[in-house]
Symmetry: C2
Subunit: 355 residues, 2 copies
């Protein structure tokens, strides 16, 4: 049985669950995007439900027992097997067949759970945090994909860096970086690319617009790729003939990031990394302008546990992949953020992104 299912089962035991139904997180367990729900018992084969249209893809994943369903009796292809029932009915049958009394699930509509509960008595508990937490420590196989995703985003950033000059549009730079990442095997962006210049750079969550880059501007480029489901995330801030205030801001943020990264290792509380970076930003005089956390885990989702901010209770563990990304956004000067992906190791760390 695979590493991911093993991790889930140890969480299930800890919480007294007989069955876990993953609606959102099927790709993590199965390696395919084609699943609609994965039903995992404490022992025995998990069952993957998929829509009829996606059964060929679903069968390429790691789960053997794939059940295709359809609410509509369209004719069958030769050899095709389809359950002409609603998904909730098949889930209810699994709850019965696995003899479950205590069922956990990640996230589902109330009405879907109500239908299952009506025909199959058990305790049903929504546990949206269970899988993301189990996922925060990566397997060697997952680390290969995360490394590749980090390499791809590094290539995209290199391309963006070549294009920073007055007169180009933000969206042109985003398009070029995305194109390079796509040709390198990215499935798409892990979030809408940010290329934010001038006043836009002071918005931590800007997009890319048709605005042209100009002299005396900071340009925040924050992009991400997805490689076989694994997201990457990287930010650089470029400066076009910067003012003194802009250079000062940029230097402070870069040094703050280095101070944060230097704290990363197995066993360190996440808030200590945040503190190291934040302290540096504050001492440089920007304490009011660093309004977000210092970083987050990254994997199947772009934001996963652990969370690096002043009130975080998370502790870094070996084989977590995190970002370290302090920033400061100063009205009339502009914004700066500097972000890399870092692999937490026993006694230290390894940088996954580079430029």
């Amino acid at each position: 049985m695979n590493y991911q299912i093993q991790r889930l089962r140890s969480e299930m035991r800890r919480r007294g669950l007989d069955v876990f139904v993953a609606f959102q997180d099927t790709r993590y367990f199965t390696g395919t995007t084609a699943g609609k729900a994965l039903i995992v018992p404490l022992s025995g084969e998990p069952v993957l439900l998929c829509s009829r249209l996606e059964q060929d893809q679903a069968k390429k994943g790691r789960v053997k027992d794939v059940r295709a369903y359809s609410g509509w009796k369209a004719p069958l292809r030769p050899g095709e097997r389809v359950h002409f029932r609603d998904a909730w009915m098949i889930i209810a049958d699994c709850v019965r067949d696995f003899g479950a009394h205590s069922v956990g699930y990640d996230r589902a509509s109330k009405s879907l759970i109500r239908k299952i509960r009506n025909v199959r008595h058990a305790s049903y508990s929504e546990m949206p945090e269970l899988v993301p937490e189990a996922r925060s420590v990566k397997s060697p196989e997952e680390l290969k994909l995360a490394r590749r995703s980090a390499e791809i985003v590094s290539k995209g950033m290199k391309r963006a860096s070549e294009l920073i000059e007055a007169g180009r549009t933000e969206i042109e730079i985003a398009a070029e970086a995305e194109y390079v990442m796509r040709k390198a095997g990215s499935e798409g962006v892990s979030f809408p690319s940010i290329v934010a210049s001038g006043a836009n750079s002071a918005l931590p969550h800007a997009f890319a617009t048709f605005k042209k880059l100009r002299s005396h501007e900071l340009v925040v480029v924050d992009i991400g790729a997805v490689y076989e489901g694994y997201s990457s995330d990287m930010t650089r801030t470029f400066a076009i003939e910067p003012t003194k205030a802009q250079s000062r801001l940029l230097e402070a943020v870069k040094k703050a990031q280095a101070a944060g990264i230097a704290r990363v290792k197995d066993g360190v509380p996440a808030r200590e990394v945040d503190f190291a970076a934040r302290n540096f930003v504050s001492r440089a005089g920007y304490s009011k302008f660093f309004s977000h956390g210092t970083g987050h885990g990254v994997g199947i989702e772009i934001h996963e546990p652990p969370s690096l901010w002043p009130e975080s209770k998370d502790v870094l563990k070996a084989n977590m992949v995190i970002t370290v990304e302090p920033g400061a956004y100063v009205p009339k000067v502009g914004g700066a953020r500097w972000e890399d992906m870092v692999l937490v190791k026993r006694g230290g760390r390894e940088m996954l992104t580079y430029l």
Copy 2:
């Protein structure tokens, strides 16, 4: 008050709701992606909640009363106003201030609704279909964006068509089409691009891989852009030195699409469009190989009401935007699908995509 809020309120009146809370569908009402929840009373100003980091973007939208919140007391910028409370507390206050007894919402976690209910007694009903249904008929302003999105995807398809030749990879074609769309102003893809050649073409929901195109293959290209939130969707099937069986399949699917489109007008049941296309595919001998519906509405989401399939109860109305996309997927021959976006008009239709 804007068209979208008016449509929502007429649905709220019909269902006896005093307040509707949109968690998923905020962009439709506000024009910004920055909202976390929009609270709409039957009369008076709606309230948009947003995270502190996104307040500048949120204020660029159509809602005047924007309230930023944060669970963490980071220092305030000069002039900044932030509610240092959880989002659910602010929603509960709105329910109280609007004097609501009956609250609808689109989709939210059970625990979030439970917290609100615990401090503010009212009836809370999950109504995930309400906004998508209200959204199916587009305003003139929305149609401008849908037209532009359709133009952009047509450009992307033109670029893909120029690249269809043996030796190129699927992913290369996807990357080029996406690049052209992005530079034309697309925010990103409306779904993962499909470039599916040879055996891949027989999977209705394939992606783009590093597989090279070869002679005697069908190549299904199904792509979409997003323009200011509005999705587009278009499919063409190309053939490289096709076999007779491949040419026959492709011709049948193209003619089936024309037969379906010819039925599109205001007042026609959606299933009649499906029937016209499906009947054509069946009579050509491919009845077992057309396993999906003939089309769907498209707008803020890539799949919206109405739904065009044999058991659909939807009726086409003027200013709906739909796809018409019959297909057939024949083992050893390959797959073919042909899809355009069509605007439903009084007495007829208008094609929005073109190649």
